[in-house]
Every structure is written in structure tokens, then in C-alpha cells.
Amino acid sequence: MAQTTYVPVAGDFELIADHDITTDKNFASQSYWKGVAIHFFRNRRAVVGLVLVLAIILLAILGPVVSPYAYDQIIRDPANEAVVAKGIAPPGAQEGPFAGQLFLFGTDDLGRDLWTRTWQGARISLIIAFVTIFIDMIIGMSYGLISGYFGGMVDNIMQRVVEVANSVPRLVIVSVLAIFMPKGMGLVIVALLLTEWIGMSKIARAEMLKMKEQEYVLASRTLGARSMHIIFKQILPNTIGPIITQMMFSIPTAIFTEAFLSFVGVGIVLPQCSIGSLIESGFNNITTLPYQILPPIIVLALQMLGFNFIGDGFREALAPKLEDM
């Protein structure tokens, strides 16, 4: 049998797509944070959480500004000087001196506009949460990283301190602080500062123990880098993900604690207000002005929801499971 050999010519082939084959689109290099962001925004819950939190932050900034009343302004009826305590008043619906005025959430028992107070309270709560968590992150992170990096005796001593600090319930710290310090925002912040750094330091230490055996650490040590340089310049950026996740979960704790302390009566002092103190005054007037307790509770719940969703989304985005990819 005679074999004919067929020589293929260029015309036999056809390019299935006319893209530039010199760039690999399937395995395009993607920075770490870009990947995290993509995973985060693909998660519907996380996006809902982010929108909620941003909306609340925006309202906390703008709410008191756009309101015609100050948060501690007592609104009186000009006819008889009585304070105005009433529920939701639609604009322009009523007759009388307040016709056309809007109390979106009503006014409280002392005639203060609840819309303004709610957002002012949300502002205070958020400020407390962000300030304390930020400081706690710095303290806890440094503590944990240093403890984990040096190991041995240093780690041993530092961990014993953590153990003792971790064994004191927050309530006991608050009760002792309440004797030494005046009530108010300062007390809440100090109480949170004293307790929230511990969780952060544990996470940082665990991350450090994972990281410090890696080659790049050995490499920079061989090159003569100082310990502090290795800890804060080389390892810290690689541990930031879990720490941010922990922060996201600490913020709800801080908001809860603030609400709790203000409710108990050692937090924010009148006429200042926070979410917790608003819930407390709502509780005190619940039988006469029951609508008063709703706005702060709803804002509190939405804040918690938002931050928890963000935290969950962030944690999943940092360590995506294979099936989600």
C-alpha cells in the first residue's frame, strides 16, 4: 500500500479567537488584596453589611446636621411653654404652632427631637467603637507579635500576663473603674481598652507562630535585619488579614458594651446621648411613650447586623474555600 503523506498548510488551521496570545488571561497575576476584594464583593451578605454600615455612618454624620434642632434642644409649645412629647408627626398635617414641622421619630419625654438624638447617639457609639478598636488593635497586635516572635522566656512571661488579664471579667474591671473615674465616654473607652486587646493579641501571636518559620524571615535575618524590622515591616503586613477580621468582630462587641454600660448608667451622661442611653430612657418611658425606644434599638440592631456581615464576608474572602472560587 502506497502511503501518501499529507503536508498541512496554513489554511487548514483556523484561530478560534483572535485575542492576543502573549497575555495569559486564565492565570493572570492578581494581587492578594484584589482577590480578597473580588471575593468580598461577590458575597451578597457582605455587600449588604457594607451598605448598611456605610448608610448608618452617613446618617450619623449628616442626621444631626440636616436637622433643624440641636440634639439637646428642648422643644416647647410657644402657647403654654409645655414641652412637646409626642409620636411621629407627619409634616404639615397638624394644626397649631408645629404645623409643617417634621419630627421623623417623634420627640422624647423632655421634648427633644428623637431623629437628631438617635443619629447623635449613633455617632457617639461609632466614635467609641472605632477609637477603642483602633487603639486596641495597635496594642494587641504589637503585644502578640512581639510575644510570638521572641518565644521562650519572653513569650512565657507575656502569656502569663495575658492569662491573668483574661481571667478578670469585664464587669469587675468596670466596677473598679467606676469608683476611680467619673462616668462618661472616658470610662467606656478605658474599660474597652483594658479588655479588647487580649483577643487581638492572641490572633496576632498565632499568626506570628505560623509566619516566623518561613523562608523570607530567615532570609532577612541572614541579611542582618533587626528583630523590630522583621516583626513590623516584614511579618506584620502578612498577618493583617486575620487582624482586620478580628477588628470587624470587635466593633460589635464595643457597640454592645457601650450600650450596656450606658444602660446601666455609667456610660454617656445627659444631655449627651448614645444608643445605650437612648434605649435606657426609652425603657424608662415605655408605658407612656412606647415609640421612643424603637429608633435606637433598630439602629443598634442594624449596626450589629452590618458589622457581623462584613466580618463574616471578610473572613470568607481571606480564606476562600475551593468550591467558592
Partner: protein
């Protein structure tokens, strides 16, 4: 195992001792006068101070206090209002608080487990979504807020339950506070159980059991639930600790004469009685450390790998 437990107990006791010492010193160096001085002459104050031994060196005072403490005696309050021996005041409070707290834990764990199991067995269906929404709600809204609503609707609008706690009808009036106290536990346990069960149901050994022909409740009980329960035991400890905090506000709202309410009085009350702060601080710390200790030991009992790992770490 015995060595492990002994070491844990020893460490816990040492920690507690340190905390008691620091608390004692802090409370003693507190500024101010423990006696209402406007009504007492200088002589009376001096007598009272001598009587209570406040002029001795602080270490001597601590030694005396600690020996009394070992005999189970918290001493006396200094103020007029709370002047009775602290032990008598505490004993009623503790019994109230513990019974309500215990109820709350039971309700929370039982309902939470049930919800979680139901959700996992109906994964992706309505009951699952319901469980998810419920557990989100329970985490986002503090228990005392639920109590405020329950109290408003079921004690005020529809006066079925008592508005305030009534020690004579304990079980009946404990329903609302224990229920609202348990909500956080309930939702956390439900979420945890569901996630753990879903994970275990996906594992190879469950698939093996299924391929052997095992189905139904036996599979759930023998293979799934057993393995899913391990992590749940460990979340219960911290949840009980959270309960201590929650109980504070719940007791305040519902007028329960418990240690939480006493603590609120100590934290917020004007003219606070320092001896109560000290006693409550010690009590809370001991509770907290005790719970943590039990969880630690349970953890080691349930899962031997943890014990090995923590003793291998060299601490």
C-alpha cells in the same frame, strides 16, 4: 490526665489569688472616706476605722481578709443601707441569679440544639432559612431588649406574666427573664450546631456509613451528632460567661434581687459600698475562672488531641 487537671486547677487558683490581691489593694487605696462623715464626729470615725482595722498596714489587712475569705466570710458592708453582713445579702442573691441563669442555659442549649439539628437536616429549605434569620436576630439584638418587649407586651399590655419578678411564684415569673437571657445562647448554639452538622454530614465517614446502608436517626445520633457536639461544648463556656453580663441588665429590668442587680448598684450607685465591690469582684472572677477551667478540662476529656498539643507546647 490527672496531672493535666492538677496543673490547670493550680494555675486557676494562682490566678484567682493574684486577682483577689490586686482587687483588695485597689479598693483599699481608693480615694474617699468609707463613712458618711457629715453625720459622724472625728472620734466616731476614728473608732470605726479602728474597729474595722483600717489603720493597719495593708498587707496585714489583706492577710486578715484572705483568712476570713477562706472561711467563706466576705465581711460586712460599711454603708448604712447595705450594712448587713455581706454573706446574708449574697446568699439570697446568688440563689436567685443561679436558678434563673441555669434555666436560661438549659433553655438556650436545648432549643438551640433542636433548632440547629432541624436546620441542618433541612438544609437549604425553609426551616434552614428560618434558623439562620433567628440566629442572626439573636446575635444582633441584646437579650435585655427582648425582655423589654416581652415585658411590655405580655406583662403590661396583656397582663399575663407578672411585671416584676415575684420570688413567691418563682417558676412562673422566671419565664420571661430566663427566656430573654437565653436568646443569645440559643441563637449561637443553633448556628454552631447547624454549621458543624452540615460539615460532618459532608465528611467521608458519614458517606461510608451511608454506603453501608445506615440511614435515619441512627446515623444522625451515632455518627453526625456525636462529632458535631465537640465544638459546641466549647462554645457553651464563653456563652455562660456572656450570660453573667446579660444577667446584669435583665435583673435590673425585671427587678430580680440577684447578684447582677447588686453589681449594677455597686457600679452605678452613688455612695457605693467598696466592700461589696470587692466581694462581687471576687465572686465574679471566681465564677469566670471556674467556668473557663471546666471548659478547659472538658475540652481535654472530649478530645485528647488538645491535651497532647497543649502539653507539647511546653507551657
Amino acid at each position: 490526665m490527672a496531672k493535666y487537671i492538677l496543673k490547670r486547677v493550680g494555675l486557676a487558683l494562682l490566678t484567682l489569688f493574684i486577682i483577689i490581691f490586686v482587687l483588695f489593694v485597689l479598693v483599699r487605696i481608693m480615694p474617699g472616706n468609707p463613712f458618711p462623715s457629715e453625720r459622724m464626729s472625728a472620734d466616731q470615725i476614728a473608732n470605726k476605722r479602728a474597729e474595722m482595722g483600717l489603720d493597719d498596714p495593708i498587707l496585714v489587712q489583706f492577710g486578715r481578709y484572705f483568712v476570713n475569705l477562706l472561711h467563706g466570710d466576705f465581711g460586712k458592708g460599711t454603708s448604712l443601707y447595705y450594712g448587713a453582713p455581706i454573706n446574708t445579702v449574697l446568699s439570697t442573691c446568688i440563689s436567685n441569679s443561679f436558678r434563673i441563669g441555669g434555666l436560661a442555659i438549659l433553655e438556650g442549649a436545648a432549643v438551640g440544639l433542636l433548632l440547629g439539628i432541624t436546620a441542618a437536616l433541612n438544609k437549604g429549605r425553609f426551616l434552614d432559612s428560618f434558623c439562620t434569620v433567628f440566629s442572626i436576630l439573636g446575635v444582633c439584638v441584646p437579650g435585655y431588649v427582648f425582655l423589654i418587649f416581652l415585658q411590655y407586651f405580655f406583662s403590661y399590655r396583656i397582663p399575663f406574666f407578672p411585671y416584676f419578678f415575684d420570688p413567691n411564684r418563682f417558676m412562673f415569673s422566671a419565664i420571661l427573664p430566663s427566656l430573654s437571657l437565653s436568646l443569645f445562647t440559643m441563637s449561637t448554639v443553633a448556628r454552631f450546631t447547624r454549621n458543624e452538622m452540615v460539615e460532618v454530614m459532608d465528611s467521608d465517614y458519614v458517606r461510608l456509613a451511608e454506603s453501608k446502608g445506615m440511614t435515619g436517626s441512627l446515623l444522625v445520633r451515632r455518627h453526625i451528632l456525636r462529632n458535631a457536639l465537640i465544638p459546641i461544648v466549647t462554645v457553651l463556656g464563653p456563652l455562660i460567661v456572656d450570660l453573667l453580663t446579660g444577667a446584669l441588665v435583665v435583673e435590673k429590668i425585671y427587678g430580680i434581687n440577684g447578684i447582677g442587680k447588686l453589681m449594677v448598684d455597686a457600679i452605678a450607685g452613688e455612695g457605693v459600698d467598696y466592700n461589696y465591690v470587692l466581694a462581687l469582684g471576687i465572686l465574679y472572677s471566681a465564677l469566670y475562672i471556674g467556668i473557663m477551667l471546666v471548659v478547659d478540662i472538658l475540652y481535654g476529656v472530649i478530645d485528647p488531641r488538645i491535651r497532647v498539643a497543649s502539653s507539647g507546647e511546653g507551657d
